[in-house]
C-alpha cells in the first residue's frame, strides 16, 4: 500500500505543528499514533482525513477513500441509528444504501436499536454508530481519533474487538490516536510516536519497549522514559 502521507508539514502562524511527517500503513494493520499532549496527533489525523490542508508534503489518498471517525460522535442525536446511517450512506453516494445500512447494523450489533433515536443510546453505542458511519463506504483506510476516550472498560473492549475484527476480516488499514498507551500496546500492530510535531519512533510495541533497557518496566513506563530521554 502506498504511504498515506509523505513529508507533511503544518504551521499555525509561527508555530510548527507537524514537521516532515510520513505515515504508511498496510491493509489489515492497526497503527497507533501516540505521544504527549500537543504532539500533533489530531492535526496529523485531520490532515489525513482531508479536513486540514498541509503546508508541505503529499497525501497518498484522496479524502473519499479514507473513512474518518472523529473523537466526538459526529452524528445527529434527533435521528435514529438507521436514519443516521442512511443519511451518510446517501451523502457518500453508496450504491445500495439500504443494503449497506442493514449490513452495518448487523456488523455493529445495533440492529435491535436501529429505530432508537441516537440521543437515547449509551456513549459506547453512539461511538459504534460513529465508527459505522466511517465504514459505510468500505474505505481501505480508517482513521479513528481517540475512539475510546469516553468509554468505560467494557465498552472499550467491545469497540476494539469490533475494529480489530473488521481490520482483519476486510483488510481495512486502521490508523488511530490514543492517550492510552496500554491500549496501543494491546491492539496496535505498530506504533508511531509523535512529539513536538516530529516522528521520533515507528515500530511494533515490542520494539518500543526493547528500546528501553529495563525489561521489568511496563509499556507505559517504558514509553514515558523513552520520551524523557529524548527531551520530551
Amino acid at each position: 500500500m502506498p504511504p498515506v502521507a509523505t513529508g507533511v508539514t503544518k504551521r499555525f502562524g509561527d508555530r510548527v505543528a507537524l514537521r516532515d511527517v510520513s505515515v504508511s500503513v498496510e491493509p489489515g494493520e492497526l497503527l497507533a499514533i501516540i505521544g504527549p499532549n500537543g504532539a500533533g496527533k489530531t492535526t496529523l489525523l485531520s490532515i489525513l482525513a482531508g479536513i486540514l490542508r498541509p503546508d508541505a508534503g503529499e497525501l497518498g489518498r484522496p479524502a473519499r477513500e479514507i473513512g474518518w471517525v472523529p473523537q466526538q460522535a459526529a452524528v445527529y442525536g434527533k435521528l435514529s441509528v438507521r436514519e443516521n446511517l442512511k443519511l451518510f450512506a446517501r451523502l457518500e453516494k453508496v450504491p445500495d444504501p439500504d443494503a449497506v445500512v442493514a449490513r452495518m447494523l448487523e456488523q455493529t450489533g445495533l440492529a435491535e436499536r436501529a429505530d432508537d433515536e441516537l440521543g437515547t443510546l449509551s456513549g459506547g453505542n453512539r461511538q459504534r454508530v460513529n465508527i459505522a458511519v466511517g465504514l459505510l463506504s468500505d474505505p481501505p483506510v480508517l482513521l479513528l481519533d481517540e475512539p475510546s476516550s469516553s468509554l468505560d472498560p467494557r465498552q472499550r473492549e467491545r469497540l476494539w474487538e469490533f475494529v480489530d475484527a473488521r481490520a482483519h476480516a476486510n483488510g481495512t488499514a486502521v490508523i488511530f490516536t490514543t492517550h492510552n498507551v496500554a491500549e496501543a500496546e494491546r491492539w496496535a500492530d505498530r506504533v508511531l510516536v509523535l512529539a513536538d510535531g516530529e516522528v521520533i519512533f515507528t515500530g511494533t510495541p515490542a520494539e518500543l519497549r526493547a528500546a528501553e533497557s529495563d525489561a521489568a518496566e511496563d509499556f507505559e513506563g517504558a514509553f514515558v522514559r523513552f520520551l524523557r530521554e529524548r527531551g520530551h
Binding site: 474518518w68 460522535a73 452524528v75 434527533k78 435521528l79 436514519e83 443519511l87 446517501r90
Partner: protein, 444 residues
C-alpha cells in the same frame, strides 16, 4: 443537498418545543405589534371633579344658552372618568394609582367664562410615571384644546351675529334684555336724508356731517371685523398633501409589519440555529470533507429557513388579510416579496450562525440583532437629528428587515419605493451575507 434538507426537516419535526417556539413566539410578537399599532390605547382613567354647583353650568352667550356640562361630556369620550366629590379625593385617587390624573373644574369656572372674573382655569394633577403622565397629559391637552376651540367658535358666532345687527340693525340680546337696534347702515341713511333736507348754512350741519363720517368709517371697519374674528378663532388651517409615495394606512402597515417581524425572527433564528447545530453535533467536519461543499451547506440552510419562514409569513398574511380585507389580486407580488425577504433574512441568519458557532450563542445573537433592526426600521425621518437618521438609514439598508418591510408594503399596499427595487436590494443582501457566512466558515 436534498438529503441534508430532508434531514433538517426531520430534526425540526422532532424538536417540537423548538418548532413551537420558532413559530408561536414571532407570531405572538407580530400580532402584538400589529394590534398595538392598529388599535388606539384604552381610555386613561382620570379622576374627575366638577365643583360647579348643579344648575349653574348653563350660561347665556349672546342670548343663547350654553351648557358647559356638554363640554365635560366630550371629555369622557377620550377619558374614563372616576368621579369624585372633593379635591382631596381626587388627589388620593391619583396617589393610589387608581387614576392616572385628576381633572378638577373649579366652582367659579362658569362665572369666569361669563367674563366677570377673567380667564377660566381647570386644574390637572398627574402622578409621577413619566410614560403614563405623557400619555394622559397629551390626551387632556387635546381635549382641552377641542373644548377651547368649540367655546371660541361659539363666542365668535355670537360676536359675528352682534356685529351684523350693529351694522344692519335687528334684535340684540344682552344680560339687560332684548333691544331692537337701528343699525349703522340705516342710521347713516337717515342721517344723509336729514342732511339733504337741511339748509346748507345751518350751523348744526357741521356736527351732523362729522357723525355721518364716523358712521361711514365704522361701517368700513366693521366689514373687516367678521373675517378678522374667523381668523382669530382658527388662525391656522391645515391643507394636507402627500408629496411622494403612496401613503399606507396605519392598519395596512401594521399587517405588513407583523408579517415582516415574523419572517425576520423565524428566518434568522432557524438559519443560524440549524447551521450552528451542525457544529454542535460534530457533523460539520464529516460533512465538508467531501460529502457536501461549504457553499452547498450554506445554501441548504438558507433554503430551509427561507421556505419555513416564507410559509409561516404567507399563512399569517393570508390569515390577517382575510380579516382585514387586503387586495388578493396582488397575491403574486406577495409571493415575490416574501421569497426575497425570506432569502435575505435567512442569509443574515446563516452569517450569524457561522460567526456564533453554537446554537445558544447564535440564538442570542440573532435576537440581539433582530430586535433593534425591527425598532430602527420604524424610526420616522424628522424624529431624530438628520445625522443620526442618516446613520439609521445606512443600518437599515445594510440589513434585510427594512427592505423586507418595504417589499411587503409595496406588494400588499402598493407603496413606494416599489417591489422591484426592494427585491433587488434583498437579493443583493442575501449574496452579501452568504459571502460573509462563507468567510466565517473558515474558522467554524
Amino acid at each position: 443537498m436534498r438529503w441534508l434538507l430532508l434531514k433538517d426537516l426531520q430534526i425540526l419535526r422532532r424538536s417540537k418545543l423548538l418548532l413551537a417556539l420558532l413559530v408561536i413566539y414571532p407570531i405572538a410578537i407580530a400580532l402584538l405589534i400589529g394590534i398595538a399599532l392598529s388599535r388606539g390605547p384604552d381610555k386613561p382613567k382620570v379622576a374627575f371633579l366638577n365643583a360647579v354647583p348643579i344648575g349653574q353650568t348653563v350660561t347665556n352667550i349672546g342670548g343663547e344658552d350654553v351648557d358647559f356640562a356638554r363640554y365635560a361630556d366630550q371629555f369622557f369620550e377620550a377619558i374614563d372618568p372616576v368621579r369624585v366629590k372633593t379635591r382631596a379625593q381626587a388627589i388620593e385617587k391619583v396617589k393610589d394609582g387608581e387614576a392616572l390624573a385628576a381633572l378638577i373644574i373649579p366652582a367659579d369656572t362658569v362665572d369666569r367664562l361669563n367674563g366677570g372674573l377673567g380667564q377660566a382655569q381647570v386644574e390637572v394633577l398627574y402622578n409621577g410615571d413619566a410614560i403614563k403622565q405623557s400619555f394622559v397629559e397629551s390626551t387632556i391637552d387635546a381635549e382641552l384644546a377641542k373644548a377651547n376651540a368649540a367655546l371660541s367658535a361659539k363666542i365668535r358666532d355670537v360676536a359675528v351675529t352682534d356685529l351684523r345687527v350693529l351694522t344692519e340693525g335687528g334684535r340684540i340680546t344682552t344680560p339687560l334684555g332684548s333691544e331692537d337696534l337701528l343699525g349703522l347702515e340705516r342710521a347713516k341713511a337717515l342721517l344723509e336724508q336729514a342732511l339733504d333736507e337741511l339748509p346748507a348754512d345751518l350751523p348744526a350741519r357741521s356736527g351732523l356731517e362729522q357723525v355721518d363720517d364716523f358712521a361711514n368709517q365704522a361701517l368700513i371697519g366693521l366689514r373687516f371685523a367678521t373675517p378678522a374674528l374667523n381668523a382669530v378663532s382658527e388662525p391656522v388651517t391645515v391643507k394636507k398633501t402627500v408629496l411622494s409615495g403612496q401613503r399606507t394606512a396605519l392598519d395596512d402597515f401594521a399587517v405588513v409589519l407583523a408579517v415582516a417581524v415574523s419572517l425576520l425572527f423565524i428566518a434568522v433564528l432557524l438559519a443560524s440555529g440549524v447551521l450552528a447545530l451542525e457544529r454542535e453535533e460534530q457533523a460539520y467536519g464529516r460533512l465538508v470533507r467531501g460529502l457536501v461543499s461549504k457553499s452547498g451547506l450554506l445554501a441548504e440552510k438558507v433554503l430551509l429557513a427561507a421556505v419555513c419562514s416564507g410559509i409561516v409569513a404567507l399563512l399569517m398574511l393570508c390569515g390577517i388579510g382575510a380579516l382585514t380585507g387586503v387586495d388578493w389580486a396582488r397575491f403574486g407580488q406577495w409571493l415575490a416579496a416574501l421569497a426575497a425577504g425570506a432569502l435575505g433574512c435567512s442569509a443574515l441568519g446563516v452569517a450569524i450562525g457561522a460567526v456564533a458557532r453554537e446554537v445558544r450563542a447564535a440564538s442570542l445573537l440573532g435576537l440581539l440583532l433582530a430586535l433593534p433592526l425591527a425598532f430602527l426600521a420604524l424610526v420616522p425621518s424628522g424624529s431624530v437629528s438628520s445625522g443620526l437618521y442618516d446613520v439609521i438609514r445606512v443600518v437599515n439598508g445594510a440589513f434585510p428587515f427594512k427592505p423586507t418591510l418595504q417589499a411587503l408594503d409595496a406588494a400588499v399596499n402598493g407603496a413606494d419605493p416599489g417591489l422591484l427595487v426592494s427585491v433587488l436590494h434583498l437579493l443583493g443582501l442575501a449574496l452579501g451575507f452568504g459571502a460573509l457566512a462563507r468567510l466565517a466558515l473558515r474558522r467554524f
